[in-house]
Subunit: 226 residues, 2 copies
């Protein structure tokens, strides 16, 4: 494997990021590939593109909750869904930053995903976050205090910008960084099998065919609606 | 199986609709479930929700072409990609209507998907469409003449509106219609395995859990961006 690490970009707002969290650490650990955990603000990405989130289109929201419970049930992931959705993930994401959790970062992230998507708590409620961290044997109040530092607040925005500069347009995104600096991006929980094939050197993608397809011209913009 | 039929809503613009076309007819035929083929205008759905299509966000377009070629290669689907993309699918969609193709509808759809996504032709070019239909042993000019009828033009719009009224927000969408009138919607090529489980009476969805999750309040709108 020539992949030197995988960057896992996520926002607690996304159930698919929660599912990714259930499997991507194991996918990397089994292959000895380091994983960097990168909280970002999905809402900033949506704003950048003037795009709507899946929960902002009513029939899509209805459908995707069915999809989410199908995945949860069939994969055996604990799943109640957060007490409120959408919620403001800002404090939760700051808590999840490496600058805040340090060596405990993965435990912090796991505690927040578990209390929200797993067990039905409200990750938009700061007191509930602190309680969940305490229950996981962490210092909730101490971690929360660190999220107030200006460098932490700026760091979350900077990390989101960096993710976009690397091609991220949604969450979860897994970026495999090769020894030669080449990067391969994978989007969504359903892309995890492609990530695994990529790490194993058997990614079926045909780069030439993709490049040719991307080079072809547009024949119409927003076709059919004119 | 209490499913009396499956409605397959599609637009030629979508590679995932092309992939759906490769497998959904077989999925239904193997179970003796009738399939209704329903061309619709994806652009009208995007307009309705003020949403952007996958190809309208540059990094998403780049990524999805890789995803498409991964699926094509690993599943063995013929895949060059259309000569232009996006393209105006209006004429192609009218040709694909049951009111136009009659008993040959499936052959018309297959010829158009094959010439475009399969072989690299331009489905936005009327002459190329007629040639593809002729090559498939159909009467291209005769079919094209029928697309000019006002009832056909109106029918495509009406079908798109009907799809939206039934919860469709993207393509492909497969709607399983039960004997008692109940409908279950599946979106995307990656939902085909869920459709199969649903047809076989082993859909893992937990309706109560989904209903409870959908009833929960929003804690924030476009969280984190304020």
């Amino acid at each position: 494997v020539s992949v030197q690490r995988v960057d896992f970009y996520f926002d607690f707002i996304s159930p698919y990021a929660y599912f990714g969290w259930q499997v991507v650490p194991g996918v990397c650990a089994r292959r000895g590939v380091p994983l960097r955990l990168q909280p970002i603000l999905f809402a900033v990405i949506l704003d950048k593109w003037g795009h709507k989130g899946p929960a902002e289109i009513p029939p899509k929201r209805t459908y995707l909750f069915s999809d989410v419970f199908r995945i949860g049930r069939s994969r055996g992931f604990p799943l109640v869904g957060p007490a409120k959705h959408p919620f403001n993930p800002l404090v939760a994401l700051r808590l999840a930053m490496p600058e805040v959790g340090g060596a405990d970062q993965a435990r912090v992230i796991d505690a927040i995903f578990a209390m929200s998507w797993g067990q039905g708590g409200d990750p938009g409620d700061t007191a509930a976050l602190v309680a969940a961290l305490d229950a996981a044997g962490l210092d909730g109040a101490g971690l929360l205090a660190r999220t107030q530092e200006p460098a932490v607040k700026e760091g979350l925005k900077a990390r989101t910008g960096e993710a976009m500069a690397r091609g991220t347009f949604g969450v979860p995104t897994m970026i495999a960084v090769h020894d030669d600096g080449r990067e391969e991006l994978f989007w969504g929980f359903d892309a995890v099998p492609w990530l695994e094939m990529h790490l194993d050197g058997r990614d079926p993608v045909d780069r030439d065919a993709v490049a040719k397809a991307l080079e072809r011209p547009a024949g119409a913009t927003r076709p059919g609606s004119r």
